[in-house]
Symmetry: C2
Subunit: 156 residues, 2 copies
């Protein structure tokens, strides 16, 4: 199956909100996103990796203008989880490589990560699917990252 990378998209209007030291048991994610939904905040990316010592982190991205209210919405959860830490960063962009069949080609992830590595861009977060690979990087790296990816996937 051929892979076709059709687009490199840069999303600059986002901030990330990370919740650290959350317990890894059923209902936790539901509680977090219930508070965020109640505040009427739209969420784009959500990333959670596997837990270690029964603790994990959830990071979500929201519109920069919603970041403060998002933090307020989840801060109440500190009553329930005293070790909860909330970190935010609006100095980021999300870059997505879109295409089809990204999974069936062993090299796409490697190509994307190598293109960014070669221009010295640090990858802060990764979330992928068969049709889209997204990374979060620092805002200052947005331009050179986009150019490196357009070049590596031969898009103008």
């Amino acid at each position: 199956e051929d892979i076709v990378v059709s687009d490199v998209h840069v999303d600059k209007g986002q901030a990330r909100v990370s919740l650290h030291n959350i317990p890894d048991s059923p209902g936790i994610a539901a509680k977090i996103f219930s508070e965020i939904a109640k505040a009427g905040i739209m969420v784009d990316l959500i990333v959670q990796n596997v837990s270690q010592e029964n603790k994990t982190s959830i990071t979500l991205t929201v519109l920069t203008s919603d970041a403060e209210r998002c933090v307020q919405a989840v801060e109440k959860l500190k009553h329930t989880w005293p070790q909860l830490e909330i970190w935010t960063d609006d100095d980021i962009v999300k870059i997505s490589v879109k295409g089809i069949g990204l999974r069936s080609h062993t090299g796409v992830g490697e190509k994307m990560f190598r293109a960014l590595a070669e221009v010295g861009v640090n990858i802060q977060m990764v979330a992928t699917s068969e049709i889209r690979m997204s990374v979060v990087i620092a805002k200052k790296d947005a331009e050179k990252a986009q150019m490196a990816l357009l070049k590596t996937f031969e898009l103008s």
Copy 2:
């Protein structure tokens, strides 16, 4: 913008490989996926959350039949990163809720997480985009999770 959840898909043929304590600096992801690509292994999900104390984890999923070779491919990296830990788990399924406009509706993530919480399913990993929300859960939870999601999104 209306959200339309069109499908709940269960992927049972996967195993996850997690690399813990990797340094958070440019080129690390590229090295990891270069080893995996050299071994000719197809990768589906890739998740990396933000680092803490300059260390982070990358988890990827592969076909269960490729898990052992995948571990062998990345084990060499222990020479370069002695604190690298590699964990695998083939007792998982990936469940994806597909649709359109998932981001623009504040409630979809919350709905998905709540449906799983209500049947006591623990969410091990999350990776989302505007058109697909994927979670990794234990294999034993696959059936009740799928039923809960089909019910919550009113799909048969």
